[in-house]
Amino acid sequence: MLDILKPPVLAVQEFFSLAGRTFRNLFRRPHYAADLFLQMDTIGVGSLPIVSLIGFFSGAVMGMQMSKALQQYGAVGQTGQLVALTMVRELGPVLTAIAVAGRNAAGMASELGSMKVTEQIDAMRALGTDPLQKLVKPRLVATAVVLPLLTIIADFVGLLGGFVIAYFFLNLSSAQYWNNAWQSLEYRDVTFGLLKPFVFAFAIALVGCYYGLSTTGGTQGVGRSTTQAVVTSIILIFVLNLFITRIYVSL
């Protein structure tokens, strides 16, 4: 029994050790600004098309589904409100985080994993750089900065998707949809809607980097790490979302 439990417990311990050392290094020199901007470009600009598409189509689908339900109560005019609330509170943060996890947690795990199995991580340490400073810190900071921004874009494009449905298929006026959507949102919706991606960013970047840096076993190992990074970060996103939503509803 102990033998079965040992590897996962050890992995959790190593993950928290990596997270702790990364946090400790956050404000310590050296700071690799070029790597940070490169990562912000890769994660932020690179994820923009997929995040926009996911946001648009989920907003549109929400518009259709909600209008169907609202029709029973003769309240189709409230479509904007429901699209806004679901997008800003839940779908925007979670779907954006899942898209970035699929793209970038996988990217981080495979890139760092390849570096690990080809001894580039060892070379980096031998030649004077701390991989946590050079590789993990820029990825973590970049994800924490750009994921909330991507979520804002996804929320807006989602609302736009809902508007297209409302305007062309439900015959709602533009003012009716946007006023209804805008007025339904409270400050705390926006606050929690942006707090979520900030927290998810840590799960995505740290899990991606952890699996990358703990890769063993050649190219097969890189593939395994990549899969594990995506699966674990997506599960963590859902678990963290539950906890944050629990805090939100209890306030």
């Binding site: 001894e119 580039q120 060892d122 070379a123 030649l127 004077g128 750089t129």
Partner: protein, 288 residues
């Protein structure tokens, strides 16, 4: 320190008995044990390497050769025992302090360990740019990178990426990166693994050239006895620009043989070839 080492080398070459009681070893392993998943990669290993010496560490795949080199660099922490580099105990030294030790060591990793997203110039200049105790200005960095690449005859590859070079060329770039910091100790991890005999000879000749021109302490791990043969029995001829046979005492080469993490032999080439241990004998015969 260097003067003392040179005097000892002279004494050794002249066939005198060397008294090392006052000399500080460049590298010292003291009963070092390294364990991975309850498997002992290094098991109670002790040895010392002095300035100007060459040390060949022979062993089959999985015998702990690479682990030994990484432990010497502080990349792997021993579970038991102590490691001393340049007289400093690095066993529990923090990573930031280790950088200052590593700045004095050159290392060639098994597959070269080049950064595939950086150009050759950036790869070779990496330690000059990043080692906290080196940090060269860009102009000086460029000059030293060109000089190191000229040493391995690859000065025309500055703007290329590692993927554009052959395996042997990548290994030569790795040597350039190892020597660009003008190290006092160079570690070579299986420098000829996977190379054809002609390229392997080129690599070994570069290692001997670096050792003899700058009197650098050299540690090479390999599974090929042929590499050890060149390191122990040849010196670089600066006049004619090639290797020439030399007596064993001139190269100051000693051998270690690892078997499943344990040190089963330590001695000179003559002692190695006369060894009665069946593992050592079988290993040498097969590799010859």
């Amino acid at each position: 320190m260097l003067g003392q080492a040179t005097a000892l080398a002279e004494q050794e070459r002249e066939g005198g008995i060397v008294d090392r009681r006052d000399e500080r070893p460049v590298l010292r392993f003291e009963r070092v044990t390294v364990t991975f998943d309850e498997i002992r990669a290094l098991d109670d290993v002790s040895f010392e390497v002095y300035a100007g010496e060459s040390r060949v560490i022979l062993g089959a795949a999985g015998s702990g050769k690479t682990v030994l080199l990484k432990t010497a660099l502080g990349l792997i922490r021993p579970d038991r025992g102590r490691v001393w580099v340049f007289g400093q105990n690095i066993t529990e030294m923090p990573e930031e302090e280790l950088f200052h030790i590593r700045a004095r060591i050159g290392v060639l990793f098994q597959e070269g360990g080049l950064f595939d997203s950086l150009t050759i110039e950036e790869n070779v200049g990496y330690p000059l740019e990043n080692q906290p105790s080196l940090r060269c200005p860009p102009e000086e960095r460029r000059r030293r990178v060109e000089e190191a690449l000229r040493f391995v005859e690859l000065e025309h590859t500055l703007d290329k990426f590692p993927s554009e070079l052959s395996g042997g060329m990548r290994r030569r770039v790795g040597i350039a990166r190892a020597v660009v910091v003008e190290p006092e100790l160079v570690l070579y991890d299986s420098p000829t693994a996977g190379l054809d005999p002609i390229t392997a000879y080129t690599i070994i000749a570069l290692i001997v050239k670096e050792r003899d021109l700058k009197n650098i302490t050299t540690i090479m791990v390999t599974h090929r006895y042929q590499d050890a043969h060149f390191l122990a029995g040849f010196r670089w001829d600066p006049q004619r620009g090639g290797l020439r046979p030399a007596p064993p005492e001139a190269t100051r080469t000693r051998f270690l043989v690892l078997r499943e993490g344990r040190l089963v032999f330590e001695g000179t080439r003559a002692e190695l070839e006369a060894a009665s241990d069946p593992y050592v004998r079988k290993f040498i015969r097969r590799e010859q």
